[in-house]
């Protein structure tokens, strides 16, 4: 059994001396969970997620977690995770692509039951035809489930966002689940230098009595069904209770903004935000955008880069301001539908400024030249 010292989240995140490790994205998940003081993790295999949960199993064997097992399907795992969270423990799981969709019914119930579950999604294409390739389309489906959504560009982001996700999810005024997304294979199976806090430090334990809803342990009153107003009956009070509860979940997302700003340093990051043309992206599309922006600036083109870190809550005001002064917002995406461009169009004042291209999907890589071509078009 390993010995770890509990430290304040602020110390772990911002002050503790960090060491640099040359690791994969999956290994970055392991490093985050090592320091997250997780009680229980539940796993189920699906590519490209499996490796990360193998590694969580390994650190369970080393004593970093109290409980770990393999469930029988993604739907069952997400259900067991719900039961564990309702029982008052800190719980983690991960999935990908088709697994996300198989489990889909559970995600809105996580949010509705105000469970502070943290789940990593290693995004992957949705069948059919069969694919195991990276694609962010599953994120489009999850946008309105009520969960918070962070998008990691790199293994470093993945490490930081998973650790911070627990602290944000468990704030009493938030207390809803967080999905930390990363692009399968591009991040999970590649290696980079990641700065991590010492492994003998960990977050404070979860206090289930800090939840705004009762933990289901028969240690608290009132005796409750579920953790929310249970409204099966047909009467006005039931309708009103359900409607107000849905609004409350959205309000909890809104209240998360201040915590996301504090811990992630903002809902987005911008380089050269004053530029007339901005590349706006999330996940590894940011890395491709960064290459394209550098090339464009070498050509003398005035271009900036906006990295969206939080998609729920969505950086509405931030993007509106950026959209006001920019002439064009180029949105490169790793999916067919262009959900991020749609989201951005929903908040900027002049939607004609949003260029919903380039897009690649089916596992294809995105050459920065495609983004560069869009930048040049803006100046043609």
């Amino acid at each position: 059994m390993t010995t770890q010292q509990v430290v304040a989240p602020e110390y772990l995140f911002f002050e503790a001396e960090r060491e640099r490790q040359f690791i994969t994205g999956s290994e970055a998940v392991r490093e985050a969970i090592k320091r997250a003081n997780v009680d229980m993790a539940i796993s189920y295999p699906i590519t490209p997620q499996s490796e990360s949960m193998h590694l969580v199993g390994d650190i369970y064997a080393q004593g970093y977690l109290k409980e770990y097992f393999r469930g029988e399907s993604e739907f069952a795992v997400m259900s067991a995770v719900a039961g564990a969270a309702m029982g008052g423990v800190r719980v983690f799981t991960a999935t990908a692509g088709p697994g996300t969709l198989r489990a889909f019914e559970v995600f809105p119930t996580w949010a509705g039951a105000r469970l502070p579950v943290v789940c990593a999604f290693m995004t992957r294409g949705i069948n059919s035809p069969l694919t195991i390739q990276p694609d962010t389309i599953e994120m489009a489906f999850l946008l309105d489930t009520g969960i918070l959504m962070f998008h990691a560009e790199s293994a470093q982001d993945l490490y930081d966002m998973i650790l911070k996700a627990f602290v944000i999810a468990e704030q009493t005024d938030v207390h809803i689940p967080v999905g930390v997304f990363t692009d399968g294979f591009f991040v999970t199976h590649t290696r980079e230098e990641v700065a991590t806090a010492p492994a003998d430090l960990k977050l404070p334990p979860y206090n289930p009595y800090s939840a705004p809803v009762p933990v289901m342990d028969m240690e608290n009153v009132p005796v409750r069904q579920m953790r929310d107003p249970f409204v099966m009956k047909s009467n006005f009070i039931s309708y009103a209770a359900h409607a107000s509860w849905q609004q409350e979940i959205l309000a909890a997302q809104e209240r998360a903004r201040k915590h996301v700003r504090r811990y992630l340093g903002g809902l987005l990051e911008a380089e050269h935000p004053e530029a007339a043309v901005l590349v706006v992206a999330a996940g590894t599309a940011v890395s491709q955008g960064r290459e394209a922006v550098a090339a464009a600036r070498r050509e003398g083109l005035e271009v900036g880069l906006v990295k969206l870190k939080s998609l729920r809550p969505f950086p509405r005001e931030e993007l509106r301001m950026l959209g006001r002064q920019a002439r064009a917002l180029i949105v490169p995406e790793f999916n067919r539908v262009g959900w991020l461009a749609r989201e951005i169009k929903s908040v900027v004042e002049d939607t004609t400024k949003v260029i919903d291209a380039p897009r690649v999907f089916g596992g294809m890589t995105m050459p920065p030249e495609l983004i560069l071509a869009q930048i040049r078009r803006c100046y043609a």
């Binding site: 259900s79 309702m86 029982g87 423990v89 119930t109 039951a113 240690e219 009153v221 579920m226």
Partner: protein, 290 residues
Amino acid sequence: MSKGLFKISPGFEDVMPAEYKELVNNGPYGKDLGVSDLGTFKELIEEHPLCAGCAEALALRLILASLPNSEDTVIVGSTGCSSLLFPQVAVQNIHSLFGNQNAVATGLKRALRLRFPDKVKDVLVIAGDGATVDIGLDMVMQSWFRRELITTIMLDNEVYANTGGQESGMSPQGAVLHMAPLGKKFPKVNLPEIAREAGCAYVATISPALPRRLGKVVRRAILVAREIGPSYVQIFCPCPTNFKWPSAQVLQKIRDRQKEGIFKVREYVSPEAEAYLAGLEVVKQHDEEQ
């Protein structure tokens, strides 16, 4: 649970609902009560909206009266008629989704064991036949394979009752029901046998027409699931509304089915569970009283 939590704050005695006052002053928490004590204490169930004559409602009343540890029991339910009744139950209970009750119970039981290693926290699954034998069968059986320490109770009303009378895996062969317009083509699923093969240490079938025996079975199932392994109880409680029986005849119908040999009271106790139960003085005493 700290029983002290269940008290009325000073000054609020007059404004609390009568049912709540009754529960605090005369409820079953911390008392060793059973089916034969019904009528002498405030039950864990308050008015419910199930149909007149519903055998499932009676079964639930008997189950709740038989809990050996009501102050430390959490129930996981599922979608179905019973989920309409659970809001009126004075034990914390979870309704998650249709069919995932045993997966939720798995996570819950493991969480409670982590948080309360020195305390008995019983986790009880109560779900209908649709949730148990159809949509949720995978998760029910997998929880048994994994030897999760939970008790699963199926309320076998032989039909999807809450959605209006569709055929279920537990409907009798030949029954003409919605979605089986030419009659059901296959017999009732033999879940007790599957439960035994899948690793349950205690399996029983019972009906609310045998109330004391039902109480005994539920109690034994919960005790076995504390220490030995998963347990399964199947309660035969056919739906009068969808089978179009007069409300007052339901129990007689159950007895008739028992006489015909279609419904059989059965009990399987693994040798390990048998030895464990024999060692529990409290069970012996209770069984004798029954």
